[in-house]
Symmetry: C2
């Protein structure tokens, strides 16, 4: 019997591409049919499809030989993934922002997300700037702070432009203590403030007296006690703690209970040994214990220091930053490291605290999407089934979020593994080409800030980044890829 005759002699099964109603109709008639998970590339956009075709099938001359563009890109992306996987962030210090962060100076305030001026800042970011100016004793009260912020005397720049990251409003002012993280692989550093805890806190836009007092206590007690402890203990291996935390139900963005616990047990003996008085040590240990998000401000700079080592790789379409200032959502690509691609910040679908609803919510805000860019957070939700109590959904949803991210990443983490997926590495290295081709957006879970200054957190949930900035980045990537090639 010929191959083809044999095929038709066997039972036939229908495989359907496109609209699922054909599959459904067959199944209603008792026939087996397989619905193929396929969608039109780039949602059918002709310009994008044409770019995609160039990248996937085009060739360029390199050293007299024809080379497939896709091969160049694949090699660059493999290098980016390798850099992320080799990265090994350690806590190496705690210090004042102005002493530690390159380019930090008096009158400069760093903020989350892509660049934004005072006028375009959202409510919670304005609130946090007001709080920072009061904390720095540059303004006496809200109205003086508003005036000063609008005067042009204060410079605003993104944390990301200074090797730093900040959760939510992400405000860093010169006197604030910061974690100093060093990536032992590539020797670059990253910085982040210490987490303030829950409730009324600066990062959610609150600036009342209790917020400022807490910031002062963090500067005067928390940071010195931790600094002493760190000197006794020696550098702390963050990658190992994050890896362990992912075996313990954390995903590193909105669930950091295990990471915080592991950090406390690592730090506690050295805190107890340090020179501070017993009350200060006890207060520091209590402050960390009462805040399960304390570790978030370490997963973030761990991610930042790792992604910075994957930044600036020619021909790589890997995303090295996703960040929001509450007004815009922005991304940066490895091969175009100094350029932001932005679109309006989206709304967060979430669970709200009692008394609050979607009408109170600020659009998506914060640098904490560095977690997802790093392959944890929303990308590691399968490791954290209990996260659904915080952001909504079921444990199966959490697993599905992670599984779908493998479709848009270059590869898998060699460090961060998910027990429930048989210890598979987390999806790592977001490829902007895959995002645009498949229309699958990075899965992000996040807190929700009130839209007005001075209030704080009102909920938490899931957010879909805006496709537009990925499309723009994709177009720019294509241009740079072909332009560079022509120059040679």
């Amino acid at each position: 019997m010929s191959e083809i005759a044999r095929l038709f002699a066997s039972d036939l099964v229908v495989a359907n591409l496109g609209s699922k109603i054909f599959t459904d109709a067959l199944e209603l008639q008792g026939r087996r049919a397989i619905q193929v998970d396929w969608a039109v590339p780039c949602a059918g956009d002709e310009e994008l499809i044409s770019i995609l075709k160039t990248i996937r099938t085009g060739e360029v001359g390199v050293g007299g030989k024809k080379v497939a563009l896709q091969d160049l890109v694949d090699r660059a992306n493999a290098e980016a993934l390798e850099q992320i996987n080799l990265s090994h962030p350690f806590i190496v210090g705690i210090g004042k922002a102005v002493d530690e962060i390159p380019g930090m100076e008096k009158g400069l305030i760093l903020h989350a997300g892509p660049p934004v001026e005072w006028e375009r800042m959202c409510g919670p970011m304005k609130g946090a700037v007001i709080g920072a100016l009061i904390y720095e004793e540059l303004a006496k009260d809200e109205s003086a702070a508003r005036k000063m912020a609008a005067s042009g005397d204060i410079k605003f720049e993104p944390c990301h432009h200074h090797a730093a990251v900040g959760p939510m409003a992400g405000i860093i002012s010169p006197s604030m203590p910061v974690w100093v993280i060093e990536n032992r692989h590539s020797r670059n550093r990253a910085f982040c403030t210490l987490n303030e805890g829950l409730g009324k806190v600066l990062r959610y836009g609150a600036f009342s007296a209790e917020v400022i007092e807490r910031l002062k206590w963090m500067e005067e007690v928390l940071a010195p006690v931790l600094k002493d402890a760190l000197e006794i203990h020696g550098e702390i291996d963050l990658r190992t703690i994050i890896a362990q935390a992912l075996q313990m139900g954390d995903e590193g963005h909105n669930r950091n209970k295990a990471g915080t616990s592991l950090l406390i047990r690592e730090f506690a003996p050295s805190i107890a040994e340090g020179p501070a008085d017993a009350k200060a040590k006890s207060d520091v240990l209590k402050f960390m214990h009462l805040n399960d998000h304390f570790f978030l401000n370490l997963t973030m700079p761990a991610g930042k220091s790792s992604l910075d080592s994957a930044s600036g790789i020619e021909n790589s379409s890997v995303i090295v930053a996703m960040a929001r200032n509450g007004t815009d959502f922005g991304i940066r690509l490895s091969s175009l490291p100094n350029k932001w691609f932005t679109a309006p910040a989206p709304e967060v679908e979430g669970l709200y605290f009692p008394g609050y609803g979607a009408e109170d919510a600020n659009p998506d805000i914060g640098d904490s999407t560095i977690c997802e860019t790093y392959g944890i957070g929303g990308f590691a939700m399968a490791a954290a089934p209990a996260i659904v109590e915080f952001v909504g959904g079921t444990p199966q949803d959490a697993i599905n979020f992670t599984l779908s991210m493998y479709d848009i990443t270059v590869g898998e983490s060699k460090n961060f593994r998910i027990p429930s997926l048989g210890f598979r590495g987390t999806p790592t290295g977001i490829d902007v080409t895959e995002v645009v081709e498949k229309g699958i957006l990075p899965a992000v879970n996040t807190g929700i800030a009130h839209k007005d200054p001075g209030i704080g957190q009102v909920g938490a949930g899931l957010v879909e980044p805006p496709l537009a900035c990925f499309e723009d980045a994709f177009k720019a990537f294509h241009k740079s890829l072909t332009r560079r090639r022509k120059k040679r």
Copy 2:
């Protein structure tokens, strides 16, 4: 069309009971066949089947009315489960065994498992007894200790007879510090030593100088520092910590990394605040930090205090203790609380430390099977996929262990939930009738001790308790059930 005609007019599917080769044969021919998961009750033992029939279908007169025996048993078992679920163990103190444990006295040594005299004790238990006599300064060295232990001057009784539990050899001597756990629901207490850590330790039968020195340090530094801290902190809610730990990858028997972390962060602020010097506090925090099993000695008495409140319920076939002395494996039933049903302790299937193998292993030993009796440990393995690195197998095996335990338990925990099973309560309240009827043995994971005194742990793995003691308990349960009924 008649019902029967309609049935035969539809496509038929074969359901096969018994040998799976019939299902396989049909599938080879391309037919659908369902293999029903069914086995002959009581493995076909006629005596047991006849007892089972009496329990399942028999009636007795109660207050002039006929009542089904099974209804009486079901009600009693529901009450036992309710007691376990209502139980709420707290850490309420730390003290000397002789001061805290009822009936503890000079010259008395408590051990794990059912009763056993010196002559029948296994190697590691003898080693631990030798160590305890040296620690108590009742003997100078091994040979003096052996003589004393054999002399009859030392009394040996099970921990379980004194509201206590002990891991592995489970030796408790009068001077040892113990955790005092109170079940706030039923006001009964339970006791356990403080965990010594890994390596050469008394509970695995080691008794060298370093072992004795560590025990002294635990008595002189660890216990006082923790006692002070507990007084500052106030009682610690163990049930809540265990529940959280099960959301963080622990199962509470062989994986206690999360429980230990949560305990440290809860304790640390009060330790730092206490009156001891900085070095002692730091050493205590380091000791706990370096031992992920530190929390095991708290899950065990939490279980003991909860199961004791479910003990002594007439007509209940729920198992309230499973324990091994390294020679025998024994169980106790709620309705026959003072009787042990024993069989030879089985071997453990496990992973061995380098240089050791099955030929070095002592049979199964320790009271830590109180964990499984409580609905955690092996019963909660689905919560702890990473446990397979320690005891062998795959994450799916861990899930299957838990799923199969629902077949032999009265119900589910209302406190301990498993994220990966959609937050289902752990299987709780082992019913000896179900065990014997289905031939499904409780899933236990455990450490492996060297068979000789003085060596220590050589591995960890999974163990199947011996069916014989469950069968004996089942027969005795049946007798007590029918005898009591006749008296009325």
